[in-house]
């Protein structure tokens, strides 16, 4: 259960890295918002992915 949750949050970090750029392209959000969301995605991924991968192993 804990591993699944870690996985979901870690992967949401990757989604936050890519998806906002598509929203900039579609003129839904600004470039500045995209940069903030990407930074959030980076923090999520690098904070959680090591624990998720460790548990998966």
């Amino acid at each position: 259960m804990k591993r699944t949750l870690l996985g979901i949050f870690a992967l949401s970090g990757l989604i936050l890295t890519l998806l906002p750029s598509m929203l900039v392209f579609a003129d839904v959000i600004s470039a500045q918002t995209n940069k903030v969301l990407m930074a959030l995605g980076m923090l999520l991924w690098f904070t959680l992915a090591p624990f998720w991968i460790k548990r998966a192993r």
């Binding site: 990757l14 890295t17 890519l18 750029s21 900039v24 392209f25 990407m38 991924w45 090591p50 991968i53």
Partner: protein
């Protein structure tokens, strides 16, 4: 104490360097797919993609040239390197020792280590362009060869020393970190490019190609840059990893593969890193050129920062660092093979300092395309020697793995092939103006012909070891 413990741990790792990899240790194709995709989305991609733009490659030449060149690279891994790797299951260095002799392998290691130092140096410089953003240091221009300011040198020294210390102390941790960073880096490349497309006038997918032709890969080189055609792009994509596939360095990797077909997994690296990442970084550079009225300044850090903010700058640092770190470590291992009694960490430290010094010179980044082509070309003849030694010499009634059978320290047929092939390439370059990107192909045929010819000439006069004769 800590260093001794780490060194002991490194020394205890069983890498099957002088014996075939046992069946229980073989890995599935998935391991290779992940490894190639990760290794070929690196700091160099932030430089190579923009340099294609700077060299005036047209959109058609780029898209088709990369498609064809990467396909040829994948086929080279699959049909030249992987089949020998899974039949022999030993490292490149051990294979070279058997064919060329210990002394010639030492020379190979030295050349390899030097090339690794320069490659790692260029990555330290790439990272430094991102680290230098908060300090507003002046960045080098495309035509610069020497350091442009003291602040640049200081930033490079700091990045280089930190990278070297980490390479000395914690290779395993960096390797784990690189595995985690790899999927994220690929997405940052993609996201940064998608986000800036509207600035170039791409507001829907159908806008992309006209804008690509008129604003990104315009076909017009920047001031002071040579013109790249389809052939430049194709041969560069094919030969930028020539040392690894045709040069057979990846024998050491594919000896762990269950089947030679694992060679096709190199497509993961080629079409993610050497296709999408090069295209993405080219788009980022085109936006920079548009905003700066074709400035000749060339700094991947600020370019990525503009497109993706702090994430972009972090990506440049991580990409440069995760490439430089294992490269310094590999260079250290190559030197250690020459000086087997020296401590790994001491060698790595010295190699790191040489690398850091080299990184201060912007020429390493600005001429990265030429350097990568030279790297492949220098080591390619050894790959041709291995191929002919493995497949052809026994069929011609000649002995393969001659150095092992005769106890020679130098196989002069191999040494002659290496030197004369490079001399022939130099001759083609100086006398006929053949550019470095194109020399690999004729050079390979020259190496093949020379090794066969010199083996016919020199083998009859060599004595086999008494126990083998």
């Amino acid at each position: 104490m800590i260093l001794d413990r780490l060194t002991a741990r490194l020394e205890s790792v069983q890498e099957y360097e002088k014996e075939p990899v046992p069946a229980a240790k073989l890995k599935s194709w998935r391991s290779f797919l992940g490894m190639y995709a990760g290794e070929h989305t690196a700091g160099t991609e932030f430089v190579i993609g923009p340099l294609f733009v700077a060299h005036g490659a047209s959109a058609g030449a780029l898209v088709l040239g990369l498609l064809a060149g990467n396909l040829l690279a994948v086929l080279s891994w699959a049909f030249l390197c992987a089949p020998i790797a899974v039949k022999e299951r030993i490292t490149l260095y051990y294979k070279l020792e058997k064919i060329c002799g210990k002394h010639l392998t030492v020379v190979y290691n030295l050349v390899n280590a030097l090339m690794f130092c320069f490659l790692a140096g260029s990555m330290i410089a790439v990272s430094a362009t991102a680290v230098g953003i908060p300090f507003n240091i002046p960045m080098a221009e495309l035509t610069d060869w020497l350091p442009s300011s003291l602040s640049w040198v200081l930033i490079v020294l700091v990045v280089g020393i930190v990278t070297t210390l980490v390479a000395t102390l914690g290779y395993e941790q960096v390797s784990r970190f690189a595995n985690i960073a790899s999927p994220w880096m690929i997405l940052v490349f993609l996201a940064a490019a998608i986000a800036v497309l509207p600035e170039l006038g791409v507001n829907s997918i159908k806008d992309f190609w006209p804008v690509a032709e008129s604003k990104i890969w315009t076909g017009i080189p920047l001031e002071g840059q040579s013109k790249f055609t389809f052939w430049h792009v194709m041969f560069f994509a094919w030969f930028c990893n020539m040392a690894m596939h045709i040069g057979m360095a990846d024998l050491s990797i594919f000896r762990y593969a269950k089947s030679w077909k694992a060679g096709f997994t190199s497509a993961g690296g080629m079409y993610v890193g050497h296709y999408f990442a090069w295209i993405a970084s080219g788009i980022l550079y085109a936006v920079f050129l548009q905003n700066s009225q074709n400035s000749l300044e060339f700094a991947p850090g600020p370019i990525a920062y503009y497109a993706a903010g702090i994430t972009g700058a972090a990506c440049v640092i991580v990409a440069g660092w995760t490439t430089a770190n294992p490269t310094i470590y590999r260079a250290g291992l190559a030197v250690q093979a020459i000086l087997p009694n020296s401590k790994t960490w001491k060698v790595t430290l010295i190699v790191g300092l040489v690398t850091t010094t080299a990184a201060c010179f912007p020429a390493l980044v600005m001429r990265l395309l030429d350097f990568v082509a030279l790297y492949g070309l220098l080591l390619m003849p050894m790959g041709a020697i291995i191929l002919i030694d493995f497949y052809l010499l026994p069929k011609l009634g000649l002995k393969s793995e001659l150095a092992e059978k005769t106890g020679q320290k130098i196989n002069w047929a191999a040494a002659g092939t290496w030197i004369l092939t490079l001399a022939a390439c130099l001759f083609l370059n100086f006398s006929f103006g053949v550019e470095i990107f194109f020399l690999g192909l004729p050079g390979w045929f020259v190496a093949v012909a020379l090794y066969i010819g010199l083996s016919f000439l020199l083998q009859p006069s060599t004595q086999l070891k008494p126990d083998l004769s």
